[in-house]
Structures are given as structure tokens and as C-alpha cells.
């Protein structure tokens, strides 16, 4: 019993700590002035809203259309290239959205190589032909789809893996055709996981700043920055951010509501010998194409372009890059570990202490994922600097002056910001893993006199291995790519690859930004590949 009450307390504490930054944003919004709000309302707000909604709609449709079929094909079917496409489809996860946006703009812009060659060949000038403008709303949607579909792919694939082939067999024995089995059995069973994946992609979409800003698409996220800095009005910016939060809370609520009363527990004892459907001829070709295309466009093409720029046109400073890569790597690893431990504690507390307050904490602390990094950074700084100032007072009382800011100027601030921002990812994935384990197992363990801790160690942890790995992976890659919070919170003389790439890019030196961008992708590949191996191994 003792364990669970400590657990509850810890969970409450985590909730409060991670909730503080969000609360401080909401608190600030109360000071918003009528004049600024009416200005926003009369001029730009409707565009922010419609652009953000269009962006979300496009990304939702796109990630579903790519993520679900590719997940199904690679888990259920056999076709040429399946073995490597299976993991290659994950690689765009390591590609930051702003980097892919820069790269495609370099290729497809009016002044870029494709259109220039086209004009040279045909003698056309501006306005003589129609060419899709990459720097547009549709361009932003496409860029985000290309790098965000792996979230859906990853969660859908896990769900299809977990599905016992028994249910498929049963459906088939009842005379269902393969497509019908898929639509009537496999898809509905995987629905919660798929929706969870889309939700992640949508929250990333709402928080995206780099891509939409570069493309000149006014969204809620860019609007928050304009209001904060351009208008010099932090309170109205906080109000916009709170509006965004409310929207996300509603989104999460709808998502939860849509799977109310649905609980899927699968015991691991079900024999899961899967009979792969062998595709031939035209069908095999189409399957290979369908899986290869997202990988080619979302990873291969931009990576090659970056490689080309890095090798032939940019200058490389290896010792500096190794230092940056190391900073980036350990920061991301540390943050991923912390986020997963926190998420695990919260999820565990919710399972054993069925109290509404714990559930609420989990949902509330998860909101950070949709907030742009700078807003989180400000939310983290506010309480942290307050704490630092109290410490200074305390030390003055001891007779020691000038200790300066203790926590807010250190990596601690960064780690807290990452925890706030990425807890939702870790929590969602860990919860999904925990929910697969039937409560009857817990009861059995308890009736045998095992403590919660022993049950966790001997039963839950091993079963949840693949979910834990997935959570680690996503947070790691997310931190690797994170920019605004890192930019605002890092200590003196501490840089990461993302920051180096960003500085060069904002100075409009896209080619010089290629080597650090490429390195972000390379550093991100290592865990993607390692963890993918661990996931597939533990699932088969």
C-alpha cells in the first residue's frame, strides 16, 4: 500500500511541476487588453484560424492516407522490398519539418533548378506557365505530411503487429474476403492506435513555427509570435496561446470520447503466427511503389540534396560539428529518458489509483505538445526564475551575495521545457502499452502477494518494452529537432545542431546550413534504426 501512496504523491508532484508552465501562460492571458484583442479580431484572427484548420485537415488526411496503408502492407503482406521499406518508412521522422521545407524550396522555387531549366528549355518567362508554388498553404501541408506520417505509420504498425491473426482467421472462416476482413476487423481494432498517431501529427502541426513562417502562411503559431514581439504585447500572445490550448484540449477530449468504453486487452499468450499475404505482379509493384514513395520524398530526396550541398558547396568544420553532435545527442537522450520515466510514473499512478485528479493531471500536462516552443520556454522561465530569485534571497539571508541565477540559465531549464513539451508523446505511447495488459494480470499478481513494484519489474516492464522504446524514440527525435525552446533557454556557449542550422538559415545561408541539418538527420537515424530493431524483435 505504501508504494501506491508514494506513487500517487509523486504523480501529483509531477503534474504540478509540469502544469506550472502551462498555468503561467494561461495566467498571463488574463492581462490581455481589449484594444489589442479587437485589433486581432478585426484583422488577422480569422486567417490564423482558417489557415490552422486547413493545415490540420490536410495533414490529418495525408498522414492517414500514407501511414495506414503502408503500415498494413508492411505487416500483413509480402512484396519486393518489404524487408527494408519496413524500417525505411520511419526515416522521415529524423527530418525536421523546417529543413525539408528549406530543401524543397531550394529545388522547386521559381528561381530553383527545376523551374530555371524548364524556362531555359522552353523560353517561357514568368506567367507563361503554371507551376505549383511550394511556398504556400498546400506546400506547408505537403512538407508536414512528408515528415509527420511516420507517427501514424508507427502506431498503426504496432497495432497491426499486436492483432492476433486469430481474429483474421475467424473472419475469413466466416467467408469474409481479404479487403472486407481489413475494413471490418483489422482497421476497427487498430483505430485507437491510428487516432493516437494522427493526434500526435496534428499537435506537431499546430506547434510548427519554422515551416509556416518560412512559407509565409499565417497560422495561430506565427500569430502568437507576431503579437508577442511585433506588437510587443505578451498578454495578448498568451491569450492566443490559451485559445490554442483550449482547442487542443477539446481535440483530446473528442479523441478520448471517440474510444469511450472501448478497451482492448490482448494476452501475450495468443499464438501470433502470422500468415503473410503474398502479393504478385501488378499488386506487388503497386505495394512497393506505395511504400517507397513516402520514403523517397520524405527522406531520400531531401537527404541527397543536403548531402550534395554539404559535400560540394558548403565548408565543413569537423571538430566543431562533432562537439555540436555530442551536445545534441546527450541532451536528446537525457530528455527522452526523463520524459519516459515521468510518463511511466503518471501512467502507472493512473492505473493503480483510479482517481479523477490523476487522470486530469495526465491530460493537462500533455497539452504542452501543441504549444510552440517559445511559449513553453517563457512558461518554464517564469516559475524557474521566481524560484531562483527566492534562492538568492535565501542566500542573502545566509550572508552570501551574488550567487546569480542557479537553475534558469542551465540545462535544467531546457530539460524541464522538453518534459513539458514532449510528455504527451511519451504518455500516450506508454499508456497504450499499459492498456494492452489485462488488469486480471495485476489482480493475479496481487493475489499472489506481489507488491506493485515487483509486478512492474517482472510483468509490466517486459511486456511494455516495445511501447517504452517507441516513446523513447519519438521524444529523442523530437528533442533533436526542437528549436525555439532550445534557442531561448540554453546556457552560455552551448549550441546544438538545430541551432547551428537555424542561425545559418536565418542569415539566409541555406547551403551553409546543409551540413548541420544533415547531421541532425544522421544523429536521429541511429536511435530510429536501433529502436526499430528492438520493437520488431520484441513484437515477433
Amino acid at each position: 500500500m505504501n508504494h501506491t501512496s508514494t506513487l500517487k504523491l509523486t504523480a501529483l508532484l509531477i503534474g504540478v511541476l509540469l502544469g506550472l508552465p502551462i498555468l503561467s501562460v494561461i495566467g498571463q492571458s488574463l492581462f490581455a487588453g481589449v484594444e489589442s484583442i479587437s485589433h486581432l479580431w478585426n484583422t488577422v484572427l480569422s486567417e490564423y484560424i482558417s489557415n490552422s484548420l486547413m493545415l490540420m485537415l490536410g495533414v490529418a488526411v495525408g498522414t492517414l492516407l500514407i501511414g495506414v496503408p503502408t503500415a498494413w502492407l508492411t505487416t500483413m503482406c509480402k512484396f519486393p522490398g518489404r524487408d527494408w521499406l519496413n524500417w525505411a518508412l520511419l526515416l522521415p521522422l529524423a527530418m525536421p519539418a523546417y529543413v525539408i521545407a528549406y530543401t524543397y524550396t531550394g529545388i522547386l522555387d521559381y528561381a530553383g533548378p527545376i523551374q530555371s531549366t524548364l524556362r531555359e528549355l522552353t523560353g517561357w518567362g514568368y506567367g507563361d506557365y503554371h507551376f505549383w508554388d511550394v511556398r504556400s498553404l498546400s506546400g506547408a501541408i505537403l512538407m508536414l505530411i512528408l515528415v509527420l506520417y511516420p507517427y501514424v505509420y508507427l502506431t498503426a504498425r504496432a497495432a497491426f503487429f499486436e492483432q492476433s491473426s486469430l481474429s483474421m482467421e475467424v473472419a475469413k472462416s466466416l467467408g469474409y474476403s481479404t479487403p472486407k476482413t481489413w475494413f471490418k476487423v483489422a482497421l476497427p481494432l487498430a483505430r485507437p492506435a491510428i487516432i493516437a498517431g494522427v493526434t500526435l501529427a496534428l499537435m506537431e502541426t499546430l506547434a510548427d513555427y519554422g515551416t509556416v513562417q518560412y512559407f509565409g502562411v499565417s497560422t495561430f503559431s506565427t500569430g502568437i509570435f507576431r503579437t508577442f514581439y511585433g506588437l510587443g504585447d505578451p498578454a495578448s500572445a498568451a491569450l492566443l496561446a490559451t485559445g490554442l490550448l483550449t482547442f487542443v484540449a477539446a481535440l483530446i477530449f473528442v479523441e478520448r470520447y471517440s474510444r469511450r468504453g472501448i478497451a482492448y486487452h490482448q494476452s501475450k499468450s495468443t499464438p501470433r503466427v502470422r500468415q503473410l499475404i503474398e502479393l504478385r505482379g501488378f499488386h506487388a509493384l503497386m505495394a512497393t511503389l506505395a511504400c517507397a514513395l513516402p520514403f523517397l520524398l520524405g527522406f531520400m530526396l531531401p537527404a541527397l540534396q543536403l548531402l550534395f550541398w554539404s559535400l560540394f558547396e558548403a565548408e565543413l568544420d569537423w571538430p566543431q560539428f562533432i562537439n555540436l553532435a555530442w551536445n545534441t545527442f546527450y541532451l536528446a537522450a537525457l530528455a527522452a529518458l526523463i520524459a519516459v520515466i515521468l510518463a511511466f510514473t503518471l501512467a502507472y499512478a493512473q492505473r493503480f489509483e483510479k482517481q479523477r485528479v490523476l487522470k486530469l493531471i495526465g491530460q493537462f500536462a500533455g497539452l504542452g505538445y501543441a504549444l510552440p516552443g517559445t511559449i513553453i520556454a517563457i512558461g518554464v522561465l517564469t516559475p524557474l526564475i521566481w524560484f531562483d530569485h527566492q534562492l538568492i534571497k535565501l542566500f542573502n539571508w545566509f550572508g552570501i551575495a551574488n550567487i546569480g541565477l542557479l537553475l534558469s540559465g542551465t540545462i535544467v531549464a531546457l530539460l524541464i521545457a522538453y518534459a513539458v513539451r514532449f510528455l504527451a508523446v511519451a504518455l500516450g505511447t506508454v499508456q497504450a502499452g499499459l492498456n494492452q495488459i489485462s488488469p486480471s494480470i495485476d489482480y493475479a499478481a496481487k493475489s499472489l502477494g506481489r507488491s506493485t513494484w515487483t509486478t512492474l519489474r517482472l510483468i509490466h516492464a517486459p511486456i511494455m518494452r516495445s511501447s517504452l522504446f517507441t516513446a523513447l524514440l519519438i521524444v529523442f527525435v523530437d528533442v533533436l529537432k526542437e528549436l525555439p525552446a532550445t534557442l531561448m533557454l540554453r546556457p552560455f556557449d552551448f549550441n546544438t545542431l538545430a541551432i547551428r542550422a537555424y542561425e545559418l538559415a536565418t542569415d539566409e545561408q541555406l547551403i551553409a546550413a546543409a551540413p548541420p541539418s544533415l547531421l541532425i538527420v544522421v544523429v536521429g537515424l541511429i536511435p530510429v534504426l536501433l529502436i526499430n530493431r528492438a520493437i520488431t524483435r520484441s513484437a515477433s
Binding site: F215, R226, H389, I499, T506
Partner: protein, 341 residues
Amino acid sequence: MMKVRKSVLAISLLAISMFKAGIVNADVNVYSSRTEALIKPLLDRFSAETGVAVNLLTGKDDALLTRLQMEGPASPADLFITSDVARLYRAKTAGITEAVESDVLNTAIASQWRDADNHWFGLTSRARPIIYAKDRVKSAELDRYEDLADPKWKGRICIRSSSNVYNQSLVSSALIANGEGATLKWLNGLVANFSRPPAGGDTDQLKAVAAGQCDLTLANTYYLARLAASDKAEDRAVAAKLSVFWPNQSDRGAHFNISGIALTKSAKNQADAVKLMEYLVSDAAQRWYAEVNNEYPIVANVEASEQLKSFGSAKADSVSLYKLGELNGNSLRLMDRAGWK
């Protein structure tokens, strides 16, 4: 009680030494919105010459400003460097800057380029003239910024987003010269002449003009200079198609902005910080800026780079720079109303 105090003290000191390793009070700490590549080499030279170590934190100007404000008197920062005057103004009004009395700074920098109360000082100046396609626009067709609202430019102007502070400051200068009503009217006309929705950076606009997507743009000259001096033939080809036009020479002059520096109120090491400020306006440092980033030296006796000189010289708008900062919010509101995205 004594015992508790001692152990609290011991643990805390341990914690401090862990977190604060490397930052000594004797160092000068700089918050800079100039990117590392454009400030670090100078700081390193300063350290080599004086033996004073300098710690650098780069970031977006507004984010750094917010951090400074929140950190208050405990902030580790001694100096704040930005690439636009609006932020220096904001820092001063936020009460985080400190006046500096230095004959070196006052002599080197003309009074137009520094704060009247000595709270901030320009380090380089940056011009934002009209840059046009030589083959499609004749310089005789151009005169003032205000004329760009003329319907004859319909569909011929490329420009970056109104979220960009260079554009905000330019609009502020027009606002000061012409007043709110005229400026809004001008903005409406200007926006109607855009050839495409604003996107990308200044370099992107220059490339678009060269490629024929539009005929002219407003951009800072160092971007053009960089293209002209590039190793890549295609960049030089872009620059070769473009020419600089200095607007408003018959009245207030072309729009110039500054990158600048301010001493923070929280500065722990004022003496060395001021020494660094003075170093940044030394001839050597000014020449470095001129050559490396093609910005105009703020110091009169240091010449601009050959590249910049090839763009010709101009009368600069003599508006008090702090007013640009003061009007920043108003300008953005007008841009919102005119639909400049």
C-alpha cells in the same frame, strides 16, 4: 540551527559549482541576436588582446529581451547586442539598460546613431533601398518609397513578410514622415502591387527579381553584396542582373537601420563590458564588419567595402532612430490592416 544552516550551505555551494562551472564573474557575458558567425570572431580577438574571457549566448532578439526582462537584476548578461534599433528601444523602455559615459563611444559614433541618453550605441548601419531588375526597370522610373504604391507597379513587387522587423522599421520611418492616414493608404497600394504573397527572406526576394518573378524589391544591401561576392557562379549571375536605387534622395533620404549594443543594468563587470563596447567601434573591428558582412561602418573614418561602394552612396533618413522603435507596434497594426501578411 547552525548545523542545518551549514549543511544547507554546503549542499547549495556544491550545486552552484556544478551548474555554474565555467562562468566566472570576471568574464563578460553577452546576449546577442547577431548570429555566432557574425560576432564570435570579434569577441575572440578581444579576448586575445585583453585577456578578458567573453561568454556568448545567441538567440532571437525578442526572445533574449524577454529573458533579460524576466531575469531582472540577477541576469548574468552584461551586454545585449541586436540587429535592429526597435529592440534597443524596447530594451531601454523596459528598464534593463544602463547609460554609458564613454568618450571613445561618443567620439566614434555620430549622435544620430546612438541613444540621446547613451543607453544604446550603433555598431554598424544597414541600408534598405529599392533593388530592381536592370533589364526591366529604368532608374528614371523610380523616385521615392511612396511611389511604389503607384498602380504601374501592379504585380511587379516582391517582398518578405510583415513579421520581419526590417520591414516594420521601414514602415515606421514612413509613418513618421507622412502620418497614419497617408501611410495606410500607401500600404494599401503597396500590398495591391505585390506579385505574390510575402514569403522567404531578403535573398529569396533578390533571386525572385533576378529570375523575373517580379521587377523590384526592398532588401538590405549586404544580402546583395553577399551574392555578388559569392563563390557560386549562379549567385553572381543573380547579383549581375540587379541594381540598387536610393529612394527619397530629394526629401528625407533612404531608410537606414543599425545593429547596436547596450550595457545591461544587471552587468556585474561593467568596466570590461564597456571596454568590449569600445573595442567594437575600433577601426579594426569596424573594418572586419565591413569586409565580412558588408555592413556600413558606423565610424566615419572607416570605409565601406568595395562591394558596398559599387552600389553608390546615399543620403540617409535622419529620423531619430528611437522613434522607429517607439512606433513598431503601430506600424505592424497598419500592416495588418493593409493585409500585408
